[in-house]
């Protein structure tokens, strides 16, 4: 498929405007409102959090910032831990296995989730790209192979988190104008991401929350907790 680049940019923008204009900051899809609870607290395997923070330069370039990113990874981890334990859920951190084959399979699972997560992000959230066969219900899965994660980590669910945060540099005059038009504060630049919960018994994605807004700050602990709370909107009880 070949399309002119300028068309691609215009389209991409139109797509997101659709979401923004609807006024949604986060939007959740879910199959369950409750985690399966037995005598023991449910265990959620936290997959390596995919977080990047950076500058949005005058030229519109996203330039990653190492110090911010390292801080954000830490704060997001802490905030998730607090959030989950506040709900009587045990957080199991992911550790890469020593065994090469196992590590490869885990890596394939993470890659598959990235692809499926992106697909959800586009097709469930942008009306122009809704898939007619998925008009009702929320039906996405990674397949039963994820059961191995349940066995290897003794976990019931797996949580995937993706965040990309850009912070406007001083030279963003355009951003100022944009902010004025839309009434969006530009303090935090732009923040996008999603979180998804996978049932490790069968691979189904049982909760998915997408986030997109013009504020938020993952660089410090308190605002990071605020972002994480937003990211975890309607997380099953």
């Amino acid at each position: 498929m070949n399309v002119r680049r300028s068309t691609v940019i215009k389209c991409a923008a139109l797509l997101l405007v659709t979401v923004f204009v609807q006024g949604c900051v986060t939007s959740t899809h879910q199959k369950i409102t409750q985690l399966a609870r037995t005598d023991n607290a449910p265990k959620v395997l936290l997959m390596p959090v995919d977080v990047t923070l950076g500058h949005l330069t005058a030229g519109g370039l996203f330039e990653p910032q190492a110090e911010w990113t390292t801080a954000a990874e830490k704060h997001v981890g802490t905030a998730l831990d607090r959030f989950l334990s506040g709900r009587n859920v045990i957080l199991v951190p992911y550790k890469e296995p020593g065994n090469g084959d196992r590590a490869n399979t885990h890596d394939q699972i993470v890659k598959l989730h990235r692809v499926v997560g992106s697909s959800i992000r586009i097709h469930q959230y942008v009306p122009a790209f809704q898939l007619p066969t998925k008009k009702t219900g929320f039906d996405w899965s990674l397949g039963p192979e994820v059961e191995r994660l349940a066995k290897e980590f003794d976990a019931d669910y797996a949580l995937f988190v993706y965040m990309k945060d850009s912070y406007a540099t001083a030279g963003r005059a355009a951003a100022m104008v944009f902010a004025a038009i839309l009434g969006v504060g530009i303090q935090g630049g732009t923040q996008i991401g999603y979180a998804s919960l996978v049932d490790l018994k069968n691979g189904e994605i049982v909760w998915f929350n997408a986030l997109g807004r013009g504020e938020g700050d993952l660089r410090k602990e308190k605002p990071a907790a605020e972002t994480v709370n937003l990211l975890m909107t309607k997380f099953p009880q």
Partner: protein, 412 residues
């Protein structure tokens, strides 16, 4: 488009794309920034990198390292990573020899990409493409290229170039991704592109510096420094044989003129030899032994590029070099078979090459399938059947056995 949407476009497009596909750029196949842009902007030279040095986390250099580290993590699982222990040790030893105290800071990754390139990132991640291993004629030539890359690393040219790109980049540059990183799976964004480094697209001063450093290092390590010039000679000749116009070659148009480099390197080599008092070694046999298990695969990957004229030119040069000529004739036959140009009499030419290969030896069993296919095309059924049968005899578990049998024994 009304003003609201226009501003939304500018700001939102950036992160929609990120949201749609975390970590994936839009590519339009456009080549990366060429030499001109880095010429206009000359940032102040940086001090050399120190052994074990890591940038302060608040700096832009640290941001660059972060991006590169993430790409390096992906590289471990890259589909085209060559993990063979012996080959990796072989290349690593050369790198260690050349880099001295910096050896522990450098990690080498060999990737199956059929193009001549090696890159080095500011954090010590080095990538060597299989296309380079195919084209180097001896260990000294490989060392010359690796030494050159180490030169870029020591002088921190990557961060200079990154700053250049970042400070001059327009919005649309975000979408550019050039051939230089075309073979690497999943590059995240322009910062990664800048960070990856490349044999091309550094400024002329930087290239000259890396050349000088590289030549010194290989001479010191006991290699024949004239082989650095030989590398460029071969590159030039490959392009000439392929009739590639300079402006259309990303590689050539973004390099300082290879003829100039070759001249400078030759002169420098002579000085180094005089100073050392001995010409140094090429290590042909050792090199051939190291790449032998991979040569067939690399030739097949080269043929898959379907750049017929260029591949024939390269094979002819490798035939002059003389390593495993039977195999080379087989692959030359493959090029003719796939090109199948009637005017050039490709079918006959291919069969002629296979015959040469058969007489010399060292061809893969698949050659019989190719002979069968050609005879099938020329409607010579008895010859086709004979060749296919021979192929199946040598490869009883061929994935296309089903199809071949139905061709050999057609049911009425």
């Amino acid at each position: 488009m009304n003003r609201l949407r226009l501003w939304s476009s500018i700001l939102c497009a950036t992160f929609l794309l990120a949201a749609c596909n975390p970590g994936q750029p839009v590519t339009d196949g456009q080549t990366a920034l060429n030499d001109e842009e880095s010429e206009e902007y000359k940032p102040a030279p940086l001090p050399d990198i120190k052994v074990g040095e890591r940038p302060d986390p608040s700096t832009d250099e640290a941001g660059l390292w972060l991006v590169v580290e993430r790409e390096e993590n992906k590289l471990h699982r890259a589909g085209n990573l060559i993990t063979d222990r012996r080959l990796n040790e072989y290349v690593r030893n050369i790198v260690c020899d050349l880099s001295g105290p910096y050896c522990p800071d450098i990690r080498v990754y060999i990737l199956r990409v059929p193009a001549f390139n090696a890159t080095m990132a500011p954090n010590g991640m080095m990538m060597v493409w299989s296309g380079l291993l195919l084209r180097a004629r001896n260990e000294a030539q490989l060392a010359a290229v690796l030494g050159h890359e180490i030169g870029h690393y020591l002088r921190r040219h990557s961060i200079q170039r990154f700053r250049n790109i970042r400070d001059t980049a327009g919005f649309l540059t975000f979408f550019s991704m050039g051939m230089a990183v075309g073979g690497v799976p999943g590059i995240a964004d322009i910062a990664a592109l800048a960070a990856m480094g490349s044999l091309s697209s550094f400024s002329r001063d930087n290239e000259a510096e890396a050349d000088a450093l590289g030549a010194e290092r290989i001479a010191e390590a006991g290699y024949d420094p004239r082989e650095a010039a030989a590398v460029w000679n071969n590159v030039i000749e490959e392009y000439e044989r392929a009739d590639i116009k300079r402006e259309f070659s990303f590689f050539l148009s973004s390099h300082p003129r290879p003829e100039d480099r070759e001249k400078d390197l030759t002169q420098r080599a002579e000085e180094l030899i005089k100073a050392k008092g001995s010409p140094g070694s090429k290590h042909v046999a050792r090199y051939r032994a190291a790449i032998a298990p991979f040569r067939t695969m690399m030739l097949r990957d080269e043929v898959r590029r379907r750049d017929y004229k260029r591949t024939v030119g390269l094979i002819d040069m490798l035939l002059e070099d003389g390593f495993r000529k039977g195999e080379l004739h087989y692959f030359k036959g493959e090029v003719f078979r796939l090109r199948d140009n009637q005017e050039e009499n490709d079918r006959a030419a291919a069969l002629e090459q296979y015959e040469k290969a058969r007489n010399i030896g060292g061809y893969p069993p698949r050659m019989y399938k190719s002979i069968g296919l050609l005879n099938l095309r020329q409607k010579n059924m008895p010859a086709a059947r004979k060749a296919f049968r021979q192929y199946l005899k040598l490869t009883p578990n061929a994935p296309d056995k089903g199809y071949i049998l139905s061709v050999i024994n057609p049911s009425s």
